[in-house]
């Protein structure tokens, strides 16, 4: 399944289905409704493919990029950009930003689609995480809420339930 959902982006049928669209906005909207794009999103959701699979696919099709010739897989790259538009991963950020910054005439359409995707992606909240791991002091007893010592305390006369965490 993983290879098939991506390989169909390079098929003639896919090129014919979207080839009549000439503006990045219309291409983006078309791809959002395309069954091929929906299949890739579903494969990502089911983890049949990952960001690494997409990265590998993009690398493989970019081998056909030739200076001075129209890039033959522009629609495939544009479709990947649409897939990644709503995906909250570092790879999605990297792919869309890197592609939109390119100035290659050979793949101008997929670059402009990536810029369209970025415009819409701006409404997606950005996430930043930091983890601080403190040393184990060796004598304290560790507590984890996932252990069975969690208890709920109900307040009489109220509808709310407060959570009481316990140290063991």
């Amino acid at each position: 399944m993983s290879a098939r959902v991506l390989q169909q982006l390079t098929s003639d049928d896919f090129a014919v289905s979207a080839g009549f669209l000439s503006t990045p906005g219309s291409l983006r909207r078309f791809f959002h409704q395309a069954k091929e794009v929906a299949a890739i999103k579903e494969a990502l959701r089911q983890e049949a493919i990952t960001d690494s699979t997409l990265r590998g696919f993009v690398s493989s099709v970019l081998r056909d990029l030739r200076c001075g010739e129209r890039f033959p897989h522009q629609l495939a790259i544009a479709a990947i950009a649409v897939v990644l538009e709503t995906r909250a991963t570092d790879f999605a950020d990297e792919f869309l930003h890197d592609l939109s910054r390119l100035g290659l005439a050979e793949m101008s359409m997929c670059i402009r689609v990536a810029r369209e995707c970025l415009k819409h992606r701006v409404n997606l909240a950005h996430n930043k995480t930091k983890v601080l791991r403190l040393p184990d002091d060796g004598f304290s007893r560790a507590w984890s809420p996932s252990e069975p010592q969690i208890s709920f305390k109900c307040n009489a006369g109220q509808t709310s339930v407060s959570r009481v965490c316990e140290v063991v």
Binding site: D136, D137, P145, S146, P148
Partner: protein, 145 residues
Amino acid sequence: MPTLKYFHIADSCSIDRETNCVSVFNIIEEIYGTFPAQLARLVAVSDWNIAPEDYQKDFQVTLRIPQPWKDTEPKHIDVCVNFTAERPCQRILQRVERLPLPEAGDLKLELLLNGERVAQHTIPVRLREPDVASPVEDSQGLGAA
């Protein structure tokens, strides 16, 4: 300046890669136990509204955890996250593992933006009374240790 939309202290949280929706699990309201102890994990989740005029500016969000029992300065732990404002919403997740809880008292976790306090979440840390068992413990036959 960014404005705080919400701030929670919880056991864990998850962000859906497909929808970018955040789920917060087990908001910590109180802690009961025997001391000294270490809290295996906690996560501070804050969400910030960013005004367009703040785009491309750098900000720092700090989770300050007081450690009043320490002999040396500073008597707190800071978990700092720097970000450049680029979108209308910015989520900050600060995870802390093995937080020491040497004694009972109020655990006052502060959230600072560029060094200025904007929110506080107080968690009462109390000594567990062994003779008082909660309803769940009773039903599960766990009882106090």
